[in-house]
């Protein structure tokens, strides 16, 4: 493989990145504020559980949107936000899980074990979180280098994680499926954007380049 020339420092992304970082922290700051001033409502544990879960899912979808957006816009530096967004999704998922372990169950390990084994939506949510751990650990540049081509393979786990996370939400709702259905639709769109539509399209136009286009992906 020919060594890539070091990308020219992109001034815009240098400004954007800290702004996105701050934006990703905003929900947890607001959550702490709402908990302290009581505006989170009469059931704060439920409020915190829902807010952290919502943001884990939202940031997971934002992370999944980076690649399609980069392709649509043609703006390559966008990919430099992806690791940070993914780690923030993991951050909120961990907060969500800690809320469950601590504030909801008070470390009642027997009840927690029974929940994870017996309740499908908890099983699914727990699996999604567990699958995120290796992705968070190997998100560093060092691991990227060490794993080489397998790194990309490993990080495709984000697709099943997205499906499990949406399923986790869909499964716990009592009757009003509107909100989880919106997340499911966004996820479906983001996964569909990864299908080889473009290759299929180019293949139809040019006929012979299909194989190369697939390899390049």
């Amino acid at each position: 493989m020919r060594p890539n020339p070091r990308p020219r420092p992109d001034r815009i992304i240098r400004l954007v990145k800290p702004a996105v970082f701050a934006a990703c922290l905003l929900p947890v700051v607001l959550l702490i504020w709402r908990t302290l001033d009581g505006s989170i409502g009469p059931n704060p544990v439920e409020g915190i559980t829902h807010a952290t879960g919502d943001w884990a899912l939202r940031l997971l979808l934002v992370t999944l949107a980076v690649t399609p957006l980069r392709r649509l816009s043609g703006w390559a530096p966008l990919v430099r936000l992806r690791r940070m967004l993914g780690l923030f999704a993991f951050f909120y998922a961990v907060l969500h899980f800690i809320t469950y372990l601590w504030l909801d169950q008070f470390f009642d390990w027997q009840a927690i074990g029974a929940d994870i084994a017996k309740r499908p939506y908890i099983t699914v949510g727990f699996t999604a979180l567990a699958l995120m751990v290796p992705l968070a650990v190997t998100s560093t540049r060092g691991w990227q280098r060490r794993l080489g081509a397998r790194w990309k393979q490993l990080h495709r786990l984000i697709y099943p994680i997205g499906v499990l996370a949406v399923l986790h939400y869909l499964w716990l709702v009592k009757a009003d499926l509107l909100e989880p259905a919106i997340y499911a639709a966004v996820l479906a769109l983001l996964l569909a954007a990864r299908m080889p539509w473009r290759d299929w399209y180019t293949r139809r136009l040019s006929g012979s380049h299909s194989r190369r286009a697939q390899v390049a992906r």
Partner: protein, 320 residues
């Protein structure tokens, strides 16, 4: 509340006499003019908004009340499952003023000798109102202690002379998407329906509630008339009732129709029978704060001494 803890109501919260008299004028006008006629006129048109929160006179205490401390009134009125006013728990309070509860009539029909219609003002006048401080356990594993004002459902049912064919009682909530915005979407199979077996309906613990904390029931809590069955999960206690029907067969119930494996017809609080998706062994007390432990859930929500005999010989894991 008025009788048990008079110091709780500061003088500033007592309705001024002028307003109170206007209410009586309104009642008389409504009674004379009949259904709907009194609603259009000026300040009287907003009477229902003004009414929620008015004190209910002569509320008597009840030996059925628990001595547990009641949940804060702000929590009881801002954390509601009333899908007719929105599916988020904060929605019902926000949309409460869209529901007009005067005039209000309840049709009583079916297997009875004297079917008829009863206006809410007659209900408030004819049945002595009692305070019943009850535990409320939601199927979602949270709980409150609610100081209802109401009267035994049986007292009202007897008036319509149910026949021996009446083995169940069916209830229906108002269906009116103009006043109940939640009904504009098909989240549930509207109108909301619930039912009780006749002996459950006639049990002295079963009440129709007209108030909360000594005052007229706020709309988000199911005004003007709702069922309260304290040993069953909250969804059995149907809100804003417009129809009561005596039936021979078990009547359809909304949540039971939607998810029969999750919500039974009986829906007695029972820590031994989990909801398929979550445990029913414990619950969270609303208002207990961020670091409060969950509490163990009691069978029949702690009312077993009074109601367990209704289910003697029944397998409650089967008839959940």
């Amino acid at each position: 509340m008025l009788i048990k803890r008079p110091s709780d109501i500061p003088a500033s919260e007592v309705t001024p006499r002028a307003v109170y008299l206007r209410r009586r004028e309104f009642l008389r006008a409504a009674a004379l003019a009949g259904v709907g006629a009194a609603m259009g006129t000026g300040s009287l048109g907003t009477a229902s908004a003004a009414r929620a929160g008015e004190p209910i006179p002569n509320v008597r205490p009840s030996r059925f009340s628990t001595d547990e401390p009641p949940t804060d009134v702000d929590d009881i009125t801002s954390y509601n499952n009333f899908y007719e006013l929105g599916t988020d728990k904060s929605d019902p309070k926000r949309n409460a003023d869209q529901l007009e509860t005067r005039p209000w009539q309840v049709v009583v029909e079916g297997e009875c000798e004297a079917p008829g219609v009863m206006g809410i003002e007659d209900v408030l006048r004819d049945f002595p109102q009692e305070e019943r401080i009850y535990r409320l356990r939601c199927v979602e594993a949270w709980a409150m202690v609610v100081p209802w004002v109401g009267f035994p459902l049986g007292d009202l049912l007897k008036r319509f002379k149910p026949t021996s064919n009446a083995r169940y009682v069916a209830f229906e909530t108002l269906y009116d998407p103009t006043m109940l915005p939640g009904q504009r979407r098909g989240v549930l199979d509207w109108p909301y329906r619930e039912g009780l077996r006749m002996d459950e309906a006639m049990h002295p613990l079963t009440i129709l509630a007209t108030g909360l904390y000594g005052e007229i029931l706020p709309n988000q809590n199911g005004a003007p008339l709702r069922l309260v069955v304290p040993w069953k999960y909250g969804f059995k206690s149907i809100k804003s009732i417009v129809r009561i029907r005596f039936t021979r067969d078990e009547p359809p119930a909304t949540w039971n129709m939607m998810q029969p494996n999750e919500y039974g017809f009986y829906a007695n609080v029972n820590p031994e029978v989990d909801h398929p998706r979550w445990s029913q062994k414990s619950h969270r007390m609303i208002g207990a704060g961020l670091f409060a432990r969950k509490r163990p859930t009691l069978k029949f929500n702690g009312y077993g001494e009074q109601v367990a005999s209704l289910y003697a010989g029944m397998d409650l894991a089967k008839f959940y």
